[in-house]
Symmetry: C2
Subunit: 308 residues, 2 copies
């Protein structure tokens, strides 16, 4: 079993969907990644920053999930990062209403000493220089480094983004961002161009349309589970990444074959995430829930065909 | 091995995509369905209508593929149905430039006597009353009837459409049309409502995002093969339906399990269709091509997971 370092926001979200709206609730990429990875019973640590307004009960929640929180800096007289968004009726697009960086503006990540030898590093969506700082703090090159990013950094920090992309093993990116990064509409061609930038594995997330895993000339596809209702998509991509990283850290097998299974685990956990607001559904899953849904994924995708 | 009756347009298409444009070329739902089904070495017959302007070489092409064309009426002094469309840069949307019904306006389908006992009937996208006429000409209820339709008939012939939907076993419909027909955004809920209208099996086509097969509480998903380039999507949905129907007619097994494989065959053939303009790619496939691509589908979707 490997150790997993996660860097990402631990934050407040306020969300409005056609099904209702929330006050400030627990959110952030680091939170979703950490919760998803916690279901693999690995040693994981979240590196992040919050303000004095961040409730102790949220930190306790992470600790209760056996996540090391010694890398979450608390700035007593600062305010926690806050994001607010409103989803459109189709749940596939959203408007950002508020983004308050607050303490995140001066975030200097510090990886806990006991995690500087971690085998797996999951760099959640943050400024590329923050992601690079985490990677640089590792005692040696991790066995597996995974990076998530978004279009915002392509617009305002492209050179630094390309530098970190050149140093990691796996990138997770959504379809539109893959197109923006490469200027290619075809995802097959886009993935090849991203390969050429460095990552041996490219995961392209297509939201409700599933995810593609590329490795050289190999490609694997996992659908999203067809759900009666998507209640709140917030954090689904981070939950996918957390499930993916958590499964790989638990197994310590970073082959393409095992990464397929990791994609299925990521999709499985993401399918829970969207069923309730924020992190609610991700707080109380059990092995039976997950097992049952993995079976649904198997039934959804597996078929018999005789190729003699 | 079962016999297959196909009803659908045999027509002229003129297509413009970002890759080029064509003059009037061979097209039509019946044509694409027939060509796709021909790869299963079954006895099939296309029921359709063309004008005196329809080239003999196109009819010869269908005959050469062992498709019975005695049900294609030739109106010597009439003109063949003509459709022209232009695809947008993303290839997912298109504008119809011209629709000339011509001989199709007075189409009275006549199923050849030797095919009135066919086990499988594929009702391609046409006016619901034409589809019903074909079904009514069968000597007895076919073992399997499959219906394809589109939003146009929901707008102008909804009652007749619902009547035929109530009589068939499988419906193939795209995602937007399923939403329009049921007023439900969730495809899971939409499929259940369509079930309630009659069909035991509901296939929802999502274009480049694959296809879903619903049967009671079971669901199966087949992705579209990720391609470097989609050259021309015209006929991909019909080719899918033709592969689906052709495989089921060859095997004579109409179970959910076997229908999964039929969906994979449909997706496989559709992945060829989009590689060239019109029917070009569908004219010269061989077993080796198809076999190789089925393997790609298997590699794309199959994974190992231990659920002990």
């Amino acid at each position: 079993m490997s150790k997993l370092v996660i860097v990402g926001t631990v934050a407040f979200d306020a969300i409005e969907t056609p099904f209702g709206k929330t006050d400030k609730i627990l959110g952030g990429a680091g939170t979703f990644i950490g919760l998803a990875a916690s279901y693999f019973n690995i040693n994981s640590s979240i590196v992040s920053i919050v303000g004095g307004d961040f409730p102790q009960k949220y930190l306790d929640l992470l600790s209760k999930k056996k996540i090391d929180i010694s890398g979450i800096e608390i700035v007593k007289d600062g305010k926690t990062f806050f994001w607010s968004g409103k989803y459109h009726n189709d749940m596939n697009s959203r408007d950002t209403l508020v983004t308050e960086l607050n303490v995140l503006a001066n975030f200097q990540p510090a990886v806990p000493t006991s995690y500087r030898n971690a085998e797996v590093v999951m760099l959640g969506n943050l400024h590329p220089s923050v992601q690079m700082s985490v990677l640089n703090q590792m005692e040696k090159k991790p066995e597996l480094s995974i990076l998530d990013t978004m279009n915002f950094w392509m617009d305002c920090a492209l050179d630094e983004l390309k530098e970190i992309i050149g140093k990691i093993d796996v990138i997770t990116i959504n379809d539109e961002e893959a197109r923006q990064l490469t200027g290619e509409y075809s995802l097959v061609v886009a993935a090849r161009k991203i390969h050429d930038m460095g990552p041996k594995y490219v995961v392209i997330k297509k939201g409700e349309h599933g995810a593609l895993l590329f490795h050289n000339d190999n490609v694997f596809f996992a659908p999203a589970l067809p759900l009666e209702e998507v209640f709140d998509p917030t954090g689904a991509g981070d939950t996918f990444a957390g499930g993916f990283a958590g499964y790989l850290a638990r197994t310590g097998d970073y082959s393409f074959e095992n990464m397929k299974t990791a994609v299925i685990y990521g999709s499985t956990l993401a399918s829970f995430c969207v069923e309730k607001f924020g992190t609610e559904r991700m707080q109380d899953l059990n092995d039976k829930d997950i097992y049952k849904r993995l079976e649904e994924f198997k039934n959804l995708t597996q078929f018999e065909i005789e190729l003699s």
